[in-house]
């Protein structure tokens, strides 16, 4: 099995496309970090600034047509700002871990790039005719399919690590290395303000995002295996991703939408206490995604194992 995974990885990293994708990811990460560079907060003046923030959020909450997500966001920020003033807790100075918490939107890029690789890994071998020589080896079809799945999963992990490493490096140039033990204020599930280690929040956010990334990888992989067409697999998966992103708001209105993968695929919503529905929790979302991953993997396996290879 290790040999098969080595083979599949060799095939992924020998392609020029893969390196272009990785270069795109690095470029976007650097660009976002540079763009998001903030001026150093004046530590002495923090009370005035935070008071201004409180006023800003209070004003914003008076707008009646504010969308539920923006309203929840403003309420959260207001709560934290008030807590700061009440407890004499100045906001932390800018540091790379803090910056990484706010660039988690880049995980979408990882999803897009992972979809491109996952969509091709099975269908591409049918298209190039190489599937025939691959399957006439003393290995089960199950082994061959799962070696491909594992290789794409590892590729997704590599991209997530690259995203964090690049983002950290660029931000470290701006703000210095930052403390591993720095803390900041967050809201827990009950909406209470608590102090948490920022680096661990970053690890949690990016680490758990592997599950939503894998759910899109699994969708692309399954379509690739079933339809044997990489273009369709990319197209359908990207369409689902884009349609899914716009479904988070709808989920607030229609309860059944919470059982679809889409509203569950943004981990940052839980880090910043913005669940699409009040009853949704992080473990609920992860469970829903894992059920979809298991089901789609199972379907791919059944199809791949049984099918006659006649192209």
């Amino acid at each position: 099995m290790i040999g098969l995974i080595v083979n599949e990885s060799m095939k992924i990293y020998s392609r020029r496309l893969t390196w272009i994708l990785l270069a795109v990811l690095v470029a976007i990460t650097i660009g976002t970090a540079v763009n998001g560079r903030e001026s150093i907060v004046n530590q002495a003046d923090w009370r005035t600034e935070t008071t201004q923030l409180v006023q800003k959020y209070e004003e914003r909450l008076k707008i009646t047509e504010l969308s539920p997500v923006l309203r929840a966001d403003a309420e959260n920020k207001l709560k934290i700002a008030k807590y700061r003033l009440d407890n004499e807790l100045p906001p932390p100075a800018n540091h790379p871990w803090h910056a990484l918490l706010h660039t988690s939107g880049l995980i979408e890029i990882v999803i897009v790039l992972a979809i491109i690789v996952a969509a091709d890994i099975v269908a591409g071998e049918y298209a190039a005719g190489t599937m025939k020589l691959l399957l006439i080896r003393p290995h089960s079809r199950t082994g061959i399919l799962f070696s491909k799945y594992i290789a794409v999963s590892l590729f997704a992990v590599v991209m997530l690590l690259l995203l964090v490493a690049c983002g950290y490096a660029v931000n470290a140039l701006f703000y210095g290395a930052g403390s591993v033990s720095a803390t900041d204020l967050f809201l827990n599930r009950q909406g209470q303000v608590i102090q948490l280690n920022v680096m661990l929040q970053v690890v949690k956010l990016y680490g758990l995002s592997l599950i939503p990334v894998m759910s899109y990888v699994t969708i692309a992989f399954a379509i690739s295996t079933i339809l044997r067409n990489s273009v369709l697999a990319i197209g359908i998966s990207l369409f689902l991703m884009i349609a899914g992103n716009s479904m988070i708001e709808a989920t607030a209105r229609f309860a059944w939408l919470k059982y679809l993968p889409f509203a569950n695929s943004d981990i940052s919503l839980y880090i910043f206490h913005l669940p699409p529905r009040p009853e949704m929790t992080l473990s609920f979302s992860l469970t829903v995604l894992l059920v979809y991953i298991a089901a789609l993997t199972w379907i791919s396996w059944i199809v791949f194992r049984k099918r006659d290879v006649s192209i």
Binding site: N7, M10, K132, R137, K306
Partner: protein, 308 residues
């Protein structure tokens, strides 16, 4: 089952829906034989090859390779097989060496020296570290053969192996396959449309038509069917009928040939003077007369037209 049998087809049948693509194939290929698999397009050759290597499920019956069922003991059976199915489709974005390394990892116990050995054997040493995308069809065919030989298979299955090779390459491949079979005892299963090539290469042939094995015999018997030698006479097309009646006295069978004005007589060389005298005496001018060696192509066309 014979000790030396490498492949055994046992009533192998492939059905898709209500259509039967290949029906009831039963035959064996012993070690050390080059077996030619012939048949017109759509006869089921490729389906048969795909069943043999487990790409397509067998509907009824089974195929055994060294005693292991390809459908029930796939890993043990396929271990002994090296194959090219249709085109030598390899990874274009990898180098030749990476391709071989890839397949070597999928077999057990293939050392680097073995890869070097097959590269040398197929004559790709100079280009092996280039990307396969830059290879000519002939070079890809050689690399295809290299990957098939890597794990020293007992059965080599080659679908149109001479495709894309130049005459020198074909000559070389033919000798190599013969040596592999006759000296190393490998069973070689070749399907090809190049009948003249098959005639030089194969020890035995099987003809598949409409999914059925219509004939299987040694190359010599196959070609010499109905007597080995024939006299071919070319005369004026208008006198064909007249000549036919006259020649019936010498030969009990007078066959029309492929070209107008030609007649084929299943007689031997010694009969040429008698045939020419008979025709000349009747005033029929002879344009040419001589012995005609029958080729695999003639037989192939005869058989497939008979039953078709």
């Amino acid at each position: 089952m014979d000790q030396t049998t490498v492949v055994q087809f046992h009533h192998a049948t492939k059905k898709v829906g209500r259509r039967t693509l290949v029906s009831d194939l039963t035959f064996e290929i012993p070690a050390g034989e080059v077996f030619g698999f012939l048949g017109p397009n759509g006869a089921g050759k490729t389906t048969t090859i795909r069943m043999m290597v487990g790409l397509v499920k067998i509907s009824e019956g089974d195929i055994f390779i060294k005693g292991c069922s390809i459908s029930r003991q796939f890993k043990q059976a396929i271990r002994h097989v090296g194959a090219i199915v249709e085109n030598p489709d390899l990874y274009k974005y990898l180098t030749g060496w990476q391709n071989l390394k890839h397949y070597a990892r999928m077999a057990s116990g293939i050392a680097k020296s073995r890869i070097e050995e097959v590269v040398e054997l197929v004559g790709l040493k100079d280009r092996i570290h280039d990307r396969v995308g830059t290879y000519s069809l002939g070079m890809r065919q050689r690399l295809g053969i290299a990957q098939a030989l890597l794990h020293r298979p007992s059965l080599l299955v080659l679908d149109e192996p001479t495709n894309g090779l130049d005459p020198a390459g074909i000559h070389e491949l033919r000798h190599y396959l013969k040596r592999l079979a006759h000296e190393d005892g490998v069973a070689v299963f070749v399907s090809s449309h190049l009948l003249s090539e098959m005639q030089l290469m194969c020890d035995r042939v099987g003809v598949l038509q409409h999914g059925k094995l219509v004939r299987i015999e040694t190359m010599q018997d196959f070609v010499r069917h109905n007597g080995s030698s024939r006299i071919c006479v070319t005369i004026e097309p208008s006198s064909i009928e007249h000549a036919r009646r006259l020649l019936a006295a010498l030969s009990n069978e007078v066959l029309p040939a492929s070209k107008p004005g030609q007649l084929l007589l299943p007689l031997s060389r010694e009969d040429i003077p008698a045939v020419s005298k008979l025709l000349m005496d009747a005033g029929i001018p002879i344009y040419s007369i001589g012995m005609q060696e029958r080729t695999l192509e003639d037989r192939f066309l005869e058989i497939t037209e008979d039953t078709g």
